[in-house]
Amino acid sequence: MARQPEGPPPPPTVQKLRLRYAKRGPLRFASHRDLARALERALRRARVPMAFSAGFTPHPKISYVGAAPTGAASEAEYLEIGLAQRCDPEQVRAALDASLPPGIDVLECVEAAEGSGSLADRIDAATWRVELPGVPLAELAPAVEAFLAADVVTVEKRTKNGLRDVDARAAVAGASAAEEAGCAILHMVVRQVTPAVRPDDVLAALAAVADLRPPSPPRAVREAQGRLDDTGTVADPLGPDRVAGTRCQGEPAAV
């Protein structure tokens, strides 16, 4: 006999909000699990009226989209939350941001437009900026060139199922080298593939094709995520919601 939780079922979701947040500075070392825990607690502190799942251990309705790896900073992390009570998105953003430690900064919050599809479907690529301290541009530029000229660059990567060979080249839609304050910068657009190709994998590929070995660990920042268009840029995944949001606005409850 299956036991039933006592009491009435939890109130349903009446509003979905989509948020963009950044992880910056030392908090780039937070893992996805660390961030998820911090966000759930911050939602409680901010007293956001979350909708909960039913069952013996109710969980707040939160879904995360493609988390940046531990050690990488990001300006474009996304999540969606379900609320049991309607709220003003901007008030939720401000309250949540104030409840999070500095370095996890909530940048945007919009109401999900109904029937506009899932957030995950609007993301298939990311743009990255990787600082390579101690690497001169004159070394990075030819390495990038050699990498782009190759058809396949196989690197070994550690996955849940052990070591695995992946083609880093196929996932990279574009890459270029630049320089800022004497530090070489790698800009690139990387497609979401399985298994994931991350900045570390591309750096391993640069080592493979051009023996590029940075003297100190590179710093990667995810600058944007979205759908890759024909021009090689990624579209803002919250764009469709923002457009819909200007057309209709419900009566917001106070946060």
Binding site: A30, A38, R47, F52
Partner: protein, 642 residues
């Protein structure tokens, strides 16, 4: 000495280590104060991994108390895992605080809280990484004053060579007094150098400065005498006791880590001290008398803490939480207050005789119904009389059965193995008990899927307890009794499959025993073990028994003593114990009488409800038991934004 941040040099190393988040700080409610704004800088260390150290209440309390002072700042530091330690040595980055990544060597004081002796090698590792001389005698006034605190500080002799002082008892007021002394000494231009500073600290109530006491040994290897080397330090050092817990509602804003930690909840200490008189329990002996926080004091700490943290669970902490004089009202009124908010309450463990279903239901009313934990500690009624934790087998079975009948599926039972006078039969009774609990529980609940987990560890005799004279059981004895117990539990598979057995091997307990009741000579064993790579001795994957036994054999042999001398040897009444000059308030004669009572299986009642039995604590320290009921009521909270 400028408190400059090491972060720019640390950051590239963090990209190369496991779980780097534990080293970056920035937790919710962390505090960072400008270096030059204050006179006194404290680095506070928990000598274990971040995930274990961060939730530590003692450290969190001192962190807040010190940072509230306008003339002081406190930052936290934890033991660094070997992967990062190797990189730090390679790149010349010293032990750092997580708050501002300042070098520990820059601070005026390094306070280290020892909940267990197995953190001693981590202290040496931190000192070495910090670039602070290991031996207190080699430090000058540019080095931090290394202060030990926590329960293990009641016998700091094994680390006497490595610490400058130890604080006995409650730290809330003591850290303030120490800060005052350091501030004045610095302001006066550091007169008399480090020795003068330590001499002034030695005159602070509760502060022990080992270098001002010399120890001599007799031909039998035992201590001949401990004598002070200066007239202006106390012959015996007493402990500190905070008398009104409501005046010290700390931590007010508990730290919330980003990284996962061992306790994913906030805690409120509902009382301090315990007079149940369990003879094995050092905490219960050295934290007397009982001092309750009032129901209203608890209510406001829970409210403030939840607002500050966003936690979903509140642990009501103490040595025996169900003994709070108003625990029923505390649980009910808190449950009323947080109705409908998914906020759970929990007690760390419950005495069998204090459990009732109403209380347990109130605790889980708004949160998740977790398992229940009871700690009978001893397997037989006889051994429970020896340890003074008396509960009859019938009561135990009835209580646990009631829990199953009321819907709990999972009950955990804590036991110890290797208690004084224990025989194989005492331990085998644990199996009988567990079998009976499952049998009665299945009948009462009508369910087959109930479970009972037996958790058992080796007993380590501790200083300042009636068992301080006892011979510790050897690792072989413990392991063999645990083997017998496992066989007995598995004898009947139909019942045995509902019983889980969790146990610890006997070997780490032997090392803990050496460090718990050791004297200053044990310091060289600790140093040797650390030099040979010993770290994180509380972690089975890092602990090496062979390293400890080899180091003990080689370092102690020239002194005419050995590992067994410190552990399995029973002490006589007249032996000078290494901690005799450190006063927990307990009368040594009373402790001895209680030890004799233990051997003749005589119990002693709790002095909260029966007359005083003259343990000595209250008259020595000028303290008294403080318990309710107050009869006060929690007011409903003003709800904001709901």
């Amino acid at each position: 000495m400028n408190g400059e941040s090491l972060y720019p040099r640390l950051e590239p190393l963090l990209a190369q280590v496991q779980k780097p988040i534990q080293y970056v700080g920035g937790e919710l409610n962390a505090q960072v104060k400008p270096w030059d704004d204050v006179a006194v800088h404290w680095a506070l260390m928990y000598p274990d991994a971040y995930e274990v150290g961060l939730p530590n209440q003692g450290l969190m309390i001192l962190y807040e108390v010190l940072n509230e002072r306008p003339d002081a700042l406190a930052e936290r530091t934890y033991a660094v895992w070997p992967d990062l330690a190797a990189l730090m040595r390679e790149h010349g980055v010293g032990q750092f605080t997580v708050d501002s990544h300042r070098a520990v060597a820059d601070f005026d004081l390094l306070g280290v809280s020892f909940a267990t002796e197995l953190g001693y090698t981590n202290l040496l590792e931190a000192l070495d990484l910090a670039g602070v001389p290991l031996h207190a005698a080699d430090r000058d006034e540019t080095h931090p004053v290394v202060v030990a605190g926590g329960h293990a500080a009641f016998n700091p002799e094994p680390i006497a060579d490595f610490v400058d002082c130890a604080v006995l008892g409650d730290g809330e007021q003591a850290v303030g007094d120490v800060t005052d002394v350091v501030a004045a000494w610095k302001q006066q231009g550091r007169p008399g150098g480090r020795v003068e500073l330590l001499a002034r600290l030695a005159r602070v109530d509760g502060v022990y400065v080992p270098r001002f006491y010399s120890v001599s040994y007799g031909s039998d290897g035992a201590i001949a005498a401990v004598t002070r080397t200066r007239d202006d330090v106390p012959a015996r050092v007493g402990k500190r006791t905070v008398m009104d817990l409501d005046e010290w509602p700390y931590p007010k804003t508990p730290l919330v880590p980003l990284a996962e930690s061992v306790h994913e909840r906030m805690s409120v200490e509902i009382f301090r001290g315990c007079t149940r008189g369990c003879r094995f329990c050092q905490a219960g002996m050295i934290t007397r008398p009982v001092r309750e926080r009032t129901i209203t004091g608890i209510g406001s700490m829970v409210d403030q803490g939840l607002r500050a943290t966003g936690y979903e669970e509140v642990g009501l902490l103490s040595l025996s939480s169900a003994d709070h004089s108003e625990i029923g009202q505390v649980a009910k009124q808190l449950a009323d207050r947080y109705e409908g908010t998914n906020t759970g309450l929990s007690l760390p463990s419950t005495r069998v005789d204090a459990f009732n279903v109403t209380l347990a239901n109130e605790l889980s009313r708004n949160g998740r119904r977790s398992g229940l934990t009871f700690a009978p500690e001893g397997g037989s009624e006889r051994i429970r009389r020896v340890i003074n934790k008396t509960v009859s087998k019938e009561d135990l079975v009835r209580t646990v059965t009631t829990a199953y009948a009321n819907g709990w599926q999972q009950v955990k039972l804590y036991f110890m193995c290797g208690l004084p006078t224990e025989t194989d039969e005492d331990v085998l009774e644990i199996a009988e008990l567990a079998v009976e609990v499952i049998r009665a529980g299945r009948e009462a609940s009508g369910r087959k899927d109930i479970r009972c987990t037996v958790s058992i560890g080796g007993f380590v005799p501790k200083p300042h307890t009636p068992f301080q004279w006892a011979g510790q059981a050897s690792a072989e004895t413990i392991d063999s009794r645990l083997r017998l117990l496992r066989q007995a539990i598995n004898a009947d598979r139909r019942i045995g499959r509902s019983i889980g057995l969790r146990y610890h091997d006997g070997e780490p307990g032997v090392v803990e025993g050496l460090l718990s009741r050791g004297d200053r000579r044990v310091g060289r064993v600790i140093e040797r073990v650390w030099r040979e790579g010993g770290r994180f001795d509380g972690w089975s994957e890092h602990f090496s028994y062979e390293r400890w036994t080899a180091a003990a054999a080689e370092e102690l042999a020239p002194l005419g003593v050995d590992l067994d001398w410190y552990t399995t040897r029973e002490r006589g009444q007249d032996e000078v114990l290494p901690w005799d000059h450190l006063d927990s308030g307990l009368d040594k004669e009373w402790l001895w009488d209680d030890w004799q009572d233990a051997l003749s299986e005589e119990e002693v009642a709790d002095c909260r409800w029966t007359p005083c039995y003259d343990c000595g604590v209250c008259p020595t320290n000028g303290t008294e038991i403080q318990i309710g009921p107050t009869g006060r009521t929690l007011l409903p909270l003003t709800v904001v934004g709901r």
